[in-house]
C-alpha cells in the first residue's frame, strides 16, 4: 500500500534506533508522552519500545476519545437509545463501552435499535430511509472527527431533515494536554504530537507547550518509521537544548491546519464551559456542543437526557492509565477481571486504549519470543 508500506521498513527502523540511542545522555532518563490513541496502537503493534534504549520511556496520554468518556455520558446515550422510535447510530469502537447497565452491544442484543456506522453520513442515510423514526448519531472524537459531524449537520440542514440529531461528545485535545502538563504526577521531557487532529487544527496550537513549558513537540505520523523519526527529532531537540514544535507528518499535516474544517466546526458548534473527562475530572472549554442556531439537531435539546454523574467502579484505574501515571499492566485488574471481552473500563474497550493495545500486542514474554526467533532464522 502506497504511503504506508514505505514507512514500515524494519532496516530503517533499526537505523533510526541506533541514531536515537546515540543521542541519549549517559545516566539520563527520558519520558516522552504520545498523546494519540493511534500512536499507542502502532507502538504496541510493531513493538517499537523494543527499538528504544532503556533510558527512554514512552508514556501513554489521554488521546483516545472513547476512553475519556465518563460512564454517566454512556448511560445518557443508552437512555436516548432506549426510546421506542429512536434509532441510535454509533461508531464501532463505542459499541462495547460499559455503562452502569451494560453497553450498546448488550442493549442491541436485548432488542434496542442500535446500528453501527462507519461514517456520520451513513447515519444520515438511515434517517432519510426511516422518516417515521428519530435517528441519533453518537458523535465522538477529537477535532479530527468534529468537522465530519459538522459537515453532516450542514447537509441535514440543507436537506431540511427533521428526524436527525447528534449527541455531541466531541472533545478538544489542547486542554487535555495542558491538564497533563499542569499535573504534579508527571515529569515529561517531550511530546509525540497528535497526527490527525493536527490536520485540522495545524501545529500552532502546540506552541504554548514549547514556549511556556519548555518541552519539545513533534507531530507524528502513524507508521512505525514516522514514530521513530519523531522520537529521533525530539531527542535531537533535547540534546541541543531546543524546545520547538516540529512537524514530522508534513506529508499530511499542514502547518496552519484545514481552514474549511475549522470554519464548519465554528459554524455549527461551540465550546462547552466545562466537560467531565474520565480520569482528568472537569476541564473547562474542552468539549463541543451544537450551537443554538442548530439546536434542532442537538439530541440534548430534543430529548430528556438524565445527565447523571456516575463514578467509575472502585477497581477501575483508567484515570491513572489515561494520565500516563500507570502502565496498563500496573492496573490491579488488568488482564484478570478486566479483559477486552469483559472490560471494566474504557481503556480496555477501545482498540486505541492503552490497555487494549497492550493486552493485544504488548503482552508477551520477550525472552521466549527472542529465543524462538533465533530458532526460526536458522
Amino acid at each position: 500500500m502506497r504511503f504506508v508500506d514505505e514507512f514500515r521498513d524494519a532496516d530503517k527502523a533499526r537505523a533510526l534506533s541506533a541514531k536515537i540511542t546515540a543521542l541519549c545522555e549517559p545516566g539520563r532518563q527520558y519520558k516522552l508522552m504520545e498523546v494519540c490513541g493511534g500512536h499507542t496502537h502502532t507502538i504496541y503493534k510493531h513493538g517499537l519500545e523494543d527499538y528504544l534504549p532503556e533510558s527512554i520511556t514512552l508514556v501513554h496520554g489521554p488521546g483516545c476519545p472513547v476512553c475519556v468518556i465518563p460512564m454517566g455520558r454512556v448511560d445518557d446515550a443508552m437512555h436516548l437509545a432506549s426510546a421506542e422510535d429512536v434509532i441510535m447510530t454509533s461508531f464501532g469502537d463505542m459499541m462495547r463501552v460499559p455503562g452502569s447497565h451494560g453497553s450498546f452491544f448488550d442493549a442491541k442484543a436485548a432488542g434496542t435499535d442500535i446500528r453501527m456506522v462507519y461514517s456520520p453520513l451513513d447515519s444520515l442515510k438511515i434517517a432519510r430511509q426511516n422518516p417515521d423514526k428519530r435517528v441519533v448519531f453518537m458523535a465522538i472524537g477529537f477535532e479530527t472527527t468534529a468537522p465530519s459531524t459538522a459537515m453532516t449537520v450542514l447537509r441535514a440542514a440543507a436537506e431540511g431533515l427533521e428526524n436527525f440529531s447528534v449527541f455531541c461528545n466531541h472533545v478538544t485535545i489542547v486542554p487535555a494536554i495542558k491538564a497533563i502538563l499542569d499535573s504534579p504526577d508527571l515529569r515529561l521531557d517531550g511530546f509525540i504530537g497528535p497526527g490527525h487532529v493536527s490536520t485540522v487544527i495545524g501545529c500552532r496550537p502546540y506552541e504554548f507547550i514549547a514556549r511556556d513549558y519548555g518541552k519539545p513537540v513533534v507531530t507524528a505520523g502513524f507508521e512505525p518509521l514516522d514514530i521513530l523519526q519523531s522520537i529521533y527529532m525530539l531527542m535531537l531537540q533535547l540534546s541541543q537544548g531546543r524546545s520547538e514544535v516540529e512537524n514530522q507528518y508534513s506529508r499530511v499535516v499542514p502547518w496552519d491546519g484545514n481552514p474549511v474544517a475549522l470554519r464548519v466546526i465554528g459554524q455549527t458548534m461551540e465550546l462547552r464551559p466545562y466537560f467531565e473527562w474520565r480520569g482528568l475530572g472537569f476541564i473547562s472549554h474542552s468539549a463541543l456542543r451544537m450551537r443554538p442556531e442548530y439546536e434542532r439537531f442537538d439530541a440534548e435539546v430534543l430529548f430528556e437526557v438524565p445527565g447523571v454523574r456516575v463514578a467509575d467502579p472502585k477497581a477501575c484505574q483508567c484515570g491513572e492509565v489515561l494520565k500516563g501515571v500507570l502502565k496498563p499492566w500496573e492496573c490491579k485488574v488488568f488482564g484478570t477481571a478486566c479483559t477486552p471481552e469483559t472490560p471494566i473500563g474504557t481503556c480496555m474497550v477501545s482498540p486505541e486504549g492503552a490497555c487494549a493495545a497492550y493486552y493485544n500486542f504488548g503482552r508477551m514474554n520477550r525472552n521466549r519470543v527472542n529465543e524462538a526467533l533465533k530458532v526460526i532464522s536458522r
Binding site: M1, D9, K19, G37, S148, H196
Partner: protein, 90 residues
C-alpha cells in the same frame, strides 16, 4: 478513531460536487471531499480519508522528502555497518 488512510482520487461523482470516488489498494469507495473545498484535489492525487471524509491532501513532495530522509538514514546505517565489519582492531 485516529484511523486515517491514504487513498487515490479516481473521479468526482457527477451532480454531487462534494462527492468523489477513491481507490484504497484496489478497493473503491465514495467519500465526501467537502473539507478540501479551498484546495480541491484532482484525480490522481492522494488524500487522507477518515470516517468517510477527506481530511487532507497528501503532499507527494513532502512524502518524497520524508522517504529521502529515511533512505539516507538507511544508507548511513548500512555504510556504518559495513565500516564496522571491515575495520578490525586486533
Amino acid at each position: 478513531m485516529c484511523l486515517g488512510i491514504p487513498g487515490e482520487l479516481i473521479e468526482f461523482v457527477p451532480d454531487h460536487p462534494d462527492l468523489a470516488k477513491v481507490d484504497v489498494s484496489g478497493v473503491k469507495r465514495v467519500i465526501n471531499v467537502g473539507l478540501l473545498a479551498d484546495d480541491m484535489p484532482k484525480p490522481g492525487e492522494w488524500v487522507l480519508i477518515h470516517v468517510g471524509f477527506a481530511l487532507s491532501k497528501i503532499d507527494e513532495a513532502e512524502a518524497a522528502a520524508a522517504l529521502e530522509f529515511l533512505e539516507g538514514i538507511g544508507q548511513a546505517y548500512d555504510d556504518e555497518l559495513a565500516a564496522l565489519q571491515e575495520s578490525r582492531i586486533e
